[in-house]
Amino acid sequence: MLRYACKRILSAVPVLLLISIVVFFSVRLVPGDFATIVLGNLYTDEAAAALRQQYGLDQPLPQQYLIWLGNLFQGDFGYSYISRQPVAELLLKALPVTLELTALSLLFAIFIGIPLGYVGGYHRNRLPDSCVSVLGLIGISVPNFWLGSMMILTLSLTLHLFPSGGFVPLSSGLAANLRSMFMPAVALGGAVSAVVMRSSRSAMIEVVDQEYIKMARAKGVYGLRLILGHVVRNTMINIVTILGLQTGSLLGGSVVIEKIFSLAGVGSLALRAISNRDYLLMQGTVLFITTMFVLINLIVDLSYSLLNPQIKY
């Protein structure tokens, strides 16, 4: 399995290289460059030319790309044109917010979505299943920005239970941190858990009709013992796949939720970088998100062999 993991990691390198090229050139081909944004309505050719020269934006594109790539291999991700802070530092600051939001949303999905899905699949086509299906439909259909805004209005403004926005880091206290993250996690986790719910429901339906389940029932195993002992393991591959995909997209940051709750996460960082044509920051952020996706996929694939001993790499 170690060999397989190494092979996968090595094969990811050309993918990342290709993505770096696409990201680099595509954003520079969009009309309006950094000088245009910074000067806005006060744009004059002279001021713009001076700015471009200062940031090395007047050099030929391939040359700029190679300079950036060279720096990358030395561990230098460059710096933000806007704030002059190193890209690595800005990413590290945004990471805890996004990581915690992702983790909490996943926990929500795992502890609510999976059990509900099991219930629905186990009692297929009966009342619990209908309830679960409706819940899942609502979870997927309700826009998370609407849910977030509604929660702010009721839980924060009217009931004063939670702050309306902003991130309180763990270093300021676990309680304060969880309070500030509760509403965003629920707003985001709702949709994720609905997707996981549907996936675990269909996985449960598939498994529950198998021969070995009938055998187990015949031997007198039923209810929770049946599910925990014989069903969970066999449904996990489908569920873990879905969870992996959701994690990948969550780690890319949820721009809308971050805006509503004023959380300075990876999503808003990327959006700000794109709007400001802050090229180096943008490239660093997109490359980071892509790497996360590749890593998550690898972990998910490796986990298959843990979940199903018959799968060997």
Partner: protein, 520 residues
């Protein structure tokens, strides 16, 4: 079996370790009193919420609203705005004289002003700062008439102009034309992007980019007893509803950019005071005067008469803006010409003008560019499109992302546009660069030799009454020639908690009075 379980367990433990490590990593600190918990403690921190984060803290380079609002609290100018619109008063220059030929300005500096580094400011710093403004380009046009600037002694600066320049005193009060510490500039590689080289009431404590800027009181500030607050925090909350919610919750003390939609909500909120004054942000329908149809003045006038400014104001600005019936000067400006050239929509006149120009209804097709970031401008564009259609002009709207939008605008790649300008004070600012034939911001490619002559006269005439008369004529020409169809001048609205006192809401949106502010 056991081996598989332990591997899974190790993966989970690993994830927990990663989360734990992130707890120790440097993170943005925000103050979060939920639901007004800290309301009863003595507050020494003023938290101001705004929509965007500053692009940079370098005063001579920054041009965005968010940056200027932060910078003006960290730095000082030679002269400063007063609470009246259009007036300037002494600041770092405690007095000044102008020679009889209006070419020489002798400024006397306050003695003992210190930079935040502790070094005393002298006339050499003023000379350095003015040279830097000219070199950095962004506001060099403010000082383009300066032939020389010299330090006569440690506390006297002599500025000599190449020709009389009426707006000069106003430009010396612009919040970004500040005096900077040369040592600070050089210590930070020639830029003050995230460094502090000022003399202002507050100094830079910490800038969490994208989240908030924390400033702290400068103990050696030259104005006695100022600033009153110990800490000033500018917090970035991008979503307008989140911003007003934070104010209603008591999580922030003031919002300096209240949107029209939020005004009604905030007016009804408990513990919140809303104050509106006529502002300096005016919006217009710009017309590219080199376009095949728009180079005909009658076509432009047809558009200017076809649009219903009052209806757009009512729908887009909830009736809160002041409709512009002449040119871009608002009625609050001393040079306002009460000519009422576009009193109301005149559809018949628009159709007649189009016919006189030789075009039939439906013959003219134009593209209107607007920035998708500014929904109120997109909405105004939609209404203009409908109104112009009734006059026989067909408009197609392109809402573009801001970078692409400005790129097209600056390259003259547009027929029509809806956009705005803000921050102008002197009458020269409202007209010269925008309408003069080679004007730096003349995106409409408008040219009129008679207007050029008047504009040149307007900025070299220092006699006040004569100047007002010149600008009356300028407004008449600009309104009738219609390179722009002027829409409205927006109100500037600030909302604050009811325990905030001594703040002045200024038409230019300047926040320099934050040094006076305190809690009841």
């Amino acid at each position: 079996m056991f081996k598989r379980h332990s591997l899974l367990l190790m993966m989970v433990l690993g994830l927990l370790l990663v989360l734990g490590a992130c707890a120790g990593a440097p993170q943005p600190e925000t103050e979060q009193p939920a639901g007004g918990e800290q309301a009863n403690q003595v507050k020494d921190t003023m938290i101001v919420a705004k929509q965007s984060d500053p692009s940079s803290l370098d005063p001579h380079l920054a041009s965005d609203e968010a940056a200027i609002r932060c910078i003006e609290n960290m730095y000082n100018t030679l002269l400063t705005y007063t609470d009246g619109y259009g007036e300037v008063a002494p600041s770092l220059a405690k007095s000044y004289e102008v020679s009889d030929d209006n070419l020489t300005y002798t400024l006397h500096l306050i003695q003992g002003v210190k930079f935040h580094s502790g070094r005393v400011m002298t006339a050499d710093d003023v000379v350095y700062s003015i040279e830097r403004i000219k070199n950095e380009g962004v506001r060099a046009s403010h000082f383009e008439k300066v032939a020389s600037v010299e330090a006569a002694d440690d506390h006297t600066v002599v500025i000599t102009l190449s020709e009389p320049f009426a707006p000069f005193a106003t430009y010396l009060a612009h919040p970004c034309n500040v005096i900077v510490d040369q040592d600070a500039v050089e210590a930070n590689g020639g830029k003050l992007t995230n460094a502090d080289g000022g003399t202002g009431p507050f100094m830079l404590e910490k800038w969490d980019v994208g989240t908030q800027l924390s400033l702290t009181k400068f103990a050696d500030y030259w104005e006695a007893g100022k600033p009153v607050m110990n800490h000033l925090v500018f917090r970035t909350i991008a979503d307008s509803t989140a911003r007003s919610t934070a104010l209603r919750n008591g999580e922030v003390d003031m919002i300096i950019d209240v949107t029209e939609q939020e005004i009604a909500v905030l007016k009804n909120a408990e513990g919140v005071v809303v104050e509106s004054v006529p502002g300096t942000f005016w919006e217009y329908l710009g017309m590219n005067c080199e376009h095949q149809y728009l180079d005909n003045v009658k076509v432009r006038q047809a558009l200017a008469n076809a649009i219903d400014r009052d209806a757009i104001n009512a729908a887009v600005k909830m009736g809160n803006a002041e409709v512009l019936h002449v040119a871009n000067l608002p009625s609050t400006h001393e040079a306002y010409a009460d000519l009422n050239i576009y009193p109301a929509r005149d559809l018949e006149k628009a159709k007649n003008l189009l016919a006189e120009a030789g075009y039939q209804a439906g013959e003219i097709n134009l593209e209107l560019l607007v920035g998708s970031d500014w929904q109120y401008q997109v909405d105004a564009a939609q209404m203009i499109k409908a109104q112009a259609a009734e006059a026989g002009i067909t408009i197609a709207i392109s809402a573009l992302e801001s970078g692409i939008f400005f790129d097209n605008l600056n390259n003259g790649a547009f027929d029509l546009t809806v956009v705005g300008w803000s921050g102008f004070v002197d009458m020269d600012e409202y007209f010269y660069n925008l309408f003069r034939s080679d004007g730096a911001y003349n995106q409409q490619n408008y040219t009129n030799p008679e207007l050029d002559r008047l504009l040149d006269q307007g900025r070299t005439t220092l006699d006040h009454a004569a100047r007002l008369d010149i600008y009356q004529q300028i407004q008449q020409i600009v309104a009738e020639d219609a390179p722009m169809a002027f829409l409205y001048m927006n109100n500037y609205t600030v909302a604050m908690r009811d325990n905030v006192q001594n703040y002045i809401v200024h038409p230019t949106a300047a926040t320099i009075w934050l040094k006076d502010v305190s809690f009841k």
